[in-house]
């Protein structure tokens, strides 16, 4: 565990970058430091590998003061990923990745094999090994940056706004990849970002810092969204934190109905009994085709060219309540279509039903936090 113990960084000109910050960073999870610019998040990160020395306070690594080992040894035991990757432009991709293993005295062959293995792990084509950084796209360079940080298999990974310089699509890909790699490797990751969405997506724990380097709140993302500590955190989370919080509720418990689903060509038997204004028509395999008005469906007069689009379906279990709600909001008839992993319709659900599920989830969530509060 990394324990940051009432650490202060004051510069000679009197500026306080970090003010009596204390954080316990748990092992094998992603801890995100987030906040506006000037909140000392990067300074905090750099104090962990002593690129910045604290003015006061100590940083303990598994209970031992980080100042007790030589600084280069400390740094080589922590992977570091930086914005724009910071690759060595004069070295090939494979040599970039092999930098730390080579410094640690690994043989050339072993270091290269390790680099090749890591390229595969971060999703880089092995044919890029002999290329130079300028021949890679920004997203690929960032992957090399991650591979390079992982090369000597350090237990700790420090990431300083690693994905903020790439476009949103590539960024999402890199975030998903990081979560996948973390599932496989279980590193202790400290991740700095100014993007609260990124913090909520990646963090097991999120530390919100405010200007002047003071801690505003340190909590798991779901708790941050449901119980922001103060107005600053609430503002920082943005206006739609309620909607975002739905990302943490599963959609598996939603009550689906199959009454409003009919197979194309089949007579609308029980469907006629429901009160829904529209019925979902599927093909013979059970895949959705579109919505038909109830009168037309009961009259057996379903015409493919008159169907309303069914929009984006969601997968109960895999998707959150937020996705389900989004599907219902986007649907022209106000109902979301649920499908299984193969894209076959398992049922439909109305906005009202989703709304009830949201209220139930909130009540449960509140009960949970209260219980946790008592336990403390």
């Amino acid at each position: 565990m990394i324990r940051i113990d009432s650490v202060t960084k004051r510069y000679p000109d009197g500026t306080v970058a970090v003010d009596r910050l204390s954080l316990d960073i748990p092992d094998r999870s992603i801890t995100v430091l987030v906040g506006p610019s000037g909140c000392g998040k990067t300074t905090t990160l750099r104090m962990i590998n002593r690129m910045v020395e604290p003015t006061e306070g100590t940083i303990l690594l598994d209970g031992e003061d980080s100042r007790r080992q030589p600084v280069t040894t400390l740094r080589r035991s922590m992977g570091y990923v930086i914005q724009n990757a910071g690759l060595f432009q004069h070295r090939t991709i494979v040599d970039n990745i092999a930098t730390v293993p080579r410094m640690l005295g690994w043989g050339k062959q072993r270091a290269r094999e390790r680099a090749a293995e890591l390229m595969e792990r971060v999703g880089l084509d092995p044919s890029l090994a002999k290329r130079y950084p300028y021949q890679l796209s920004g997203g690929q360079q960032q992957r090399v940056g991650v591979a390079r940080a992982l090369a000597a298999d350090p237990p700790v990974l420090l990431m300083d706004e690693p994905f903020s310089a790439v476009d949103p699509v590539v960024r999402k890909g890199l975030q998903d990849e990081l979560l996948r790699i973390q599932d496989e490797l279980g590193k202790t990751i400290v991740f700095v970002t100014h993007d609260i969405d990124e913090a909520i997506k990646l963090g097991t724990m999120v530390a919100v810092l405010r200007e002047g380097g003071r801690l505003a709140q340190y909590a798991p993302p779901a708790e941050l969204l449901s119980h922001p500590a103060d107005g600053f955190v609430e503002d920082f989370l943005g206006a739609d934190r309620g909607i975002r919080r739905l990302s943490f509720f599963p959609s598996a418990a939603l009550e689906l109905t199959t009454d409003a689903v009919i197979r194309s060509g089949a007579a609308a038997g029980p469907a006629a009994a429901t009160g829904a204004a529209h019925l979902l028509v599927t093909d013979a395999d059970g895949r959705p085709l579109g919505w038909a008005a109830r009168e037309e469906a009961t009259a057996g007069d379903v015409r493919a060219d008159r169907l309303l689009p069914y929009g984006r379906p969601f997968t109960p279990g895999a998707d959150s309540l937020r996705v389900a709600l989004d599907c219902a909001v986007l649907s022209p008839v106000g109902w979301a279509v649920a499908v299984d992993g193969d894209g076959r319709v398992t049922g439909v659900v109305s906005q009202q039903t989703i709304g009830e599920a949201i209220r139930a989830a909130h009540t449960e969530g509140r009960a949970d936090t209260e219980k946790a509060g008592v336990a403390e």
């Binding site: 590998n49 690129m51 600084v71 280069t72 040894t73 400390l74 740094r75 080589r76 922590m78 570091y80 930086i82 914005q83 724009n84 990757a85 910071g86 690759l87 060595f88 432009q89 004069h90 070295r91 090939t92 930098t99 730390v100 410094m103 130079y132 950084p133 300028y134 021949q135 920004g138 940056g145 390079r148 420090l158």
Partner: protein
Amino acid sequence: MNGFFDIPSDLQNSWAGLIGVHMREALLPVAAGLLLALPVAQLCGRFRWLYPPVLGTTTVLYAIPSLAFFVVLIDYTGQTELTVMIPLALYSLVVLVPAIVDGVRSVPDETLTAATAMGLGPVRRYLQVQLPIAAPAIVAGLRVATASSISLVSVGALIGNQGALGNLLAAAQKYDRPELAVNAVLTMAVLAILCDALLVGLRVLLTPWMPRAGTRPRPAAARDPEGALR
């Protein structure tokens, strides 16, 4: 053009021999200048306030006429090649110091930060990251310094035949043989062009990592370390 390669015997050298002496007198000072410029530039990089006065000093040195240098040096080093080479080495600093400083400064901040964060100490960082990335800028400086040094050697003729090919210019006057002057000028020009070509070749060899003409321009190309000098 009869006797174009017929070198007067008082020069005590064949044409090929003069070329050898000329290259020695021209290139040793550049090499010495480089050895001197590297630590000076490193100091200028570390202590930024040092750079303007150092730059001023090299410019002033460059402004001193070689003849004045010879007059001072001749008391200590006599009528030797060394008397010619010392000013040439000092002249080369005016290009080499800024070339190295700019080259080292062209290393992107995030590259240096990454190097530090990976546990490269200052020496490793300098030798393995800054210097290789500055190489194109340094070679660009060496090209200017070398060409200028090859032409400047000829003033050595003023202190008793220490000007190598430049001595041919003096001989051309003395013996009224203009073809010797033509020989001197052409040979020096060819030497300068050859050395320049060699340095370009060296840069190509040192920098397989630089975007080449004909490859797709990439954002990375904007950080071309030579850009500062163009």
